[in-house]
């Protein structure tokens, strides 16, 4: 009962801080983008160059090297590839940078009175803005290749918001832990590549034959997001059609929110002492 009360007060505190500082969150998200791309000669170009190189490398390896680049459901392999890779760029940035957000803004924790729970949020938003620009570019490419917008694009906001929501919760969970322990930050970084290959980004989870394995893999939120963006762009499927995938993601989202609440209420008052 006492524990429940503590969780509830954490929820209300986070909600209050977010509503009181909503203007600052929006402004600081832009500040974070500027901070990221400032100081290099090419500046903003990196937001485009980095993902382009990754997309090219995978396209080259699969189409030219492995000769696996057959069209998928009438869509060039290249388009299928970017429909899954673009959400991954946001997710991978959030897994690493999101979990370091409190370290990145340690001066907001230890030197200035500022609501700590909003720091992961504005860092997440800053990556999300870049993500939105890339998604816009993906839409442009699909149209350019002769695949006009259709009704399925209506569910794009759903997937975008779920992506933002889940990985903001992840950042709220992971950033206090990274603040307390450098090991945690390093463990997270070293697992990013593993997460990438274990998730259905370069392969389609629905083509796994063993039903048990397929269902287990669907609990991976990264798989849900990559498949979801492809539902919009390539597979032309509604998000409620695969009930199990939706259920699995919902479970993981609730689980992640609880984890985030746990570390937040546990560490909120200690973070400034250790950073």
């Amino acid at each position: 009962m006492k524990r429940l009360k503590r969780y509830w007060s954490a929820v209300t505190q986070i909600a209050r801080e977010h509503s009181e500082y909503r203007v600052q969150i929006g402004q600081l998200a832009w500040v974070d983008i500027i901070k990221t791309y400032r100081g290099s000669a090419l500046g903003w170009m990196w937001a485009v160059i980095k993902p382009s190189v990754t997309i090219f490398v995978f396209w080259f390896a699969f189409s030219v090297g492995l000769r696996q680049g057959d069209p998928i459901q009438g869509y060039p392999f290249f388009l299928w590839l970017i429909a899954g890779l673009v959400p991954w760029f946001y997710m991978s940035e959030m897994i690493t940078q999101g979990s370091r957000s409190l370290n990145r803004y340690d001066y907001l924790v230890t030197k200035i009175k500022f609501p700590v729970s909003t720091i992961p949020t504005f860092v997440s938003l800053s990556h999300f803005y870049v993500h939105l620009a890339l998604v816009g570019f993906v839409i442009f490419l699909f149209v350019l290749f002769g695949f006009p917008l259709d009704i399925y694009y209506l569910q794009l906001p759903f997937y975008l918001l779920m992506n933002l929501f889940f990985f903001t919760a992840w950042a709220l969970f992971a950033s206090p832990l990274s603040a307390v322990s450098k090991d945690f930050a390093n463990v997270v970084s070293s697992f990013v590549t593993a997460v990438f290959w274990m998730s259905g980004i370069l392969w389609d989870v629905n083509r796994i034959e063993d039903p048990l394995l397929r269902h287990i893999l669907m609990f991976n939120p990264v798989t849900f997001m990559a498949t979801g963006y492809r539902n919009v762009f390539v597979y032309k499927q509604w998000f409620w059609e695969d009930r199990f995938a939706l259920f699995a993601f919902g479970t993981m989202l609730v689980f992640m929110l609880l984890l985030a609440l746990y570390t937040y209420q546990k560490l909120r008052r200690d973070i400034a002492d250790v950073l």
Binding site: V23, G39, I112, V180, D183
Partner: protein, 258 residues
Amino acid sequence: MTKSNQIAIEFKKVSKRYKLFRSDKHRFLSIFWKKVPYTEVYANQNLSFKIKRGESVAIMGKNGSGKSTMLKMIAGVVFPSSGEVVVNGRVSALLELTAGFDFEFSGRENVHLRGQIWGLDPAEVGELEQKVVEFADIGDYIDQPMRTYSSGMKARVGFAISAHISPEILVVDEALSVGDKVFREKCNDKIKEIMETDGVTVIFVTHSAGAAEEICERGIVLQKGRLVFDGLVNDAVDFYEGPRKPRTSRDEVLITEV
């Protein structure tokens, strides 16, 4: 009820414990497992006092007496382990002037950043920027990244920002390092100006009896994290320094050079 009766700062049985773990690994494990051993150090123990609006209070105590922790709690960046800290009004802490900046950004951008963090509207931010640029007086460096600043320049910008947010509660450390003599005098004048503003509460951290008595009416002495004296500043100085010899000269220096 008149304004002068309002409480600016109240500490209610405030204690601050720091948990010391054998290593970061232990600290990490303690999040998930209660039985990880640690030792506790008290920085503040059972502090209770009230400071009214417009009062000026000298805080005295040796190094390690818990002054810094107490001030950080007033500034709102550190939380008590038990008890409650109530602060009414905007706090400006002239403690670590070079801290709280994003060194990737220029001085001017940091003024904007700070203005946004405090929730000022664009007009107020513009006004703040103008005042800070003028007061800090570091020339073209104001538009260079702060990582290229000397410590003196950082302190100038830091002081200028903290001094120009029209604080309701001003926390000043006597051992404030702000650079050369001319700028130090400029800072002293500014601090005096803020202190004379009606209703501003002043917390003055000091080791020097003269400066404390000059500025403050009330004195609080901390010892090993506990409040051991709270009363008139002259009595507090006597308590802190022991019975004194007749005074020869008055210490006029408000901020010392470090």
